[in-house]
Symmetry: C2
Amino acid sequence: MIEEFSGDFPVSEFEARLNKAHVMMHKLNIDLLFFTSEPEMRYFTGFRTLFWQSPTRPWFLIIPKNKKPIAVVPEIGSALMHETWLDDIQTWSSPHATDDGVSLLTSILKPFSRVGMLMGRESSLRMPLKDFQSLQQNLPHISFVNVSAEVQHLRMVKSPAEIQFIEQICSIASTSFENAANLFQVGMPLDEVFRTFKKDLLTNGADDVPYLVGGAGDGGYADVISPPSSTPLKEGDILMLDTGATFKGYFCDFDRNYAFGRACDHVKHAYKILLNATMAAFEVARPGTRCKDLHATMQQVIGQSTGDVGRYGHGLGMQLTEAPSLIDFDDTVLEENMVITLEPSLSLGDGKIMVHEENILIQDGAPRFLSRLAPEELPILG
Amino acid sequence: MIEEFSGDFPVSEFEARLNKAHVMMHKLNIDLLFFTSEPEMRYFTGFRTLFWQSPTRPWFLIIPKNKKPIAVVPEIGSALMHETWLDDIQTWSSPHATDDGVSLLTSILKPFSRVGMLMGRESSLRMPLKDFQSLQQNLPHISFVNVSAEVQHLRMVKSPAEIQFIEQICSIASTSFENAANLFQVGMPLDEVFRTFKKDLLTNGADDVPYLVGGAGDGGYADVISPPSSTPLKEGDILMLDTGATFKGYFCDFDRNYAFGRACDHVKHAYKILLNATMAAFEVARPGTRCKDLHATMQQVIGQSTGDVGRYGHGLGMQLTEAPSLIDFDDTVLEENMVITLEPSLSLGDGKIMVHEENILIQDGAPRFLSRLAPEELPILG
């Protein structure tokens, strides 16, 4: 018998996710979970669409205690939602002149009293604040309870099928990074470097490249979040590219550094320190280790504070960055099948920085690189 | 003298935008505007980065009455923000163990009493709801006022520089769509069609392709928001691709339909109806026309309701879809330099639909196509 799918995963995957959510709800005495966000909708239903990029329509997911999720979505999503494993799909005509789902939500939530929502770290409210306030006014007996930490914890531990998707996109991006010498040359404008790299990622099988940032400059770069300029690469430049490409909705997130023509010892040494910091964290990244321990391990090798970046890595999966953070206050204990990035960075002086990043899988025992580890020495191209 | 830039526009552009915001604030008696969202941050500062894809850190923009905007941002954004025209940039170390910008925001907002926010249609709160609630508790004297409609109206009317960017990306996408016969053949899996099209858009100069949806099927497609399957194109298929590609952070948003090998008269006729509806709307799209009038004009040609889609077009610019909506309840009056999509759709029966979309600029007099108008007859490839 062929197993039935809901989106990109077999239904059994969603049953397992739902089961974990139900256990959490019982523990917290939550009657139902109420989500407005894309990752949670996709996590519990398999509903995957780029249509969330349009801010026009809100989308809602409700998970009652002991029951399958209920989708409360605009009619335009009805056909695709009916391809998921859900049975209860309630729709309204959206955009609506006066009532964009609020009365429908009100009627569904009414019988309950403790409703879990994402209200904490890393969350947004993806519905008009006024509509949420109306919901609160319509339902004065309901306590909205913050369950961000608990839902983040559910999503941190990946299933074998999720790991396979992340591994696939990490492999695709590794292949593109390893192709750098064929893709980039001195004289190529940075925006063309970005386009060329995106095309290579797509050629190698990436579905999308939602995230590509980087920088280039003589002996280092100043910034890792800028869009590319049209300045051509020149001899002596250090180029860094950091990509979040996707496969079936799952991200890789790692970077590579390249020198063009030459690199001074200072920069070569910085590269080695970052690789050493990565390896030091890799050595201790086991179930039971805390995120703050990984941070301290890297800090010790680097011998500087995190500076402006604030952390040395994070969780990874359906979002480019997910909880936890590798930062000095994050007590999250690593567990088998978490996927995290190791992302040490350091200041080169003169306002320049260097960042290195790898993606790893926490296993019972030693972890495993999902990105193919960068070369030991700073690669010099051209 | 070379004019100074802030991100992708000259500083004079931001002065003009700010001036319009100040006028609006005076009219509504608003002390300051408080934004948490990417488009508004970029609109008033020029700050453009893909880093918003990471949900970890909130970013805030404050616009006081009669003053330049104040950025309240994580330290990681400080360097890039200092390249904008802003003078007042306040940062905190983020992620933070206990206070992700809330006390800093509190101290800045404290002297004021009426704060405008996006709380209405099409808006989200891109900060943790708990942090917003803390802000409200810290500042019980402040009234948070919904200014969604007013801010949307500011952004609806585009400057010549904005129009140039939209026109550029529309031209790029038109070139790629016109290249379809060289790109797509019977036998090509739909996910490969998507990758090929994205690469062609990048080759033609798109910065990014954040949005590509579509469908293919024998005599029509059922759905316009799904990710692509790996099913190969076959004789008799109708393929629709709808892309939101970007140039300097501005979107195009239009689609094209293609038949492979053959198309039945029913489908050819539907294509003509949609083109006729588009042209009928184009004829009446002048300053003074209301969005609901455009909707009614298209409805009359189509002879059906909008069905699940709900509307026949929308605003376009820094976001894939923006206010207004071409729908029966939207009273927005068109003005010179608005950019909108005309997006009629119809049911082909059997659960199949057809959608057509063009992008136009409202001018004093007749409008202008920014997308190069689709062929009069359904193109038959292969």
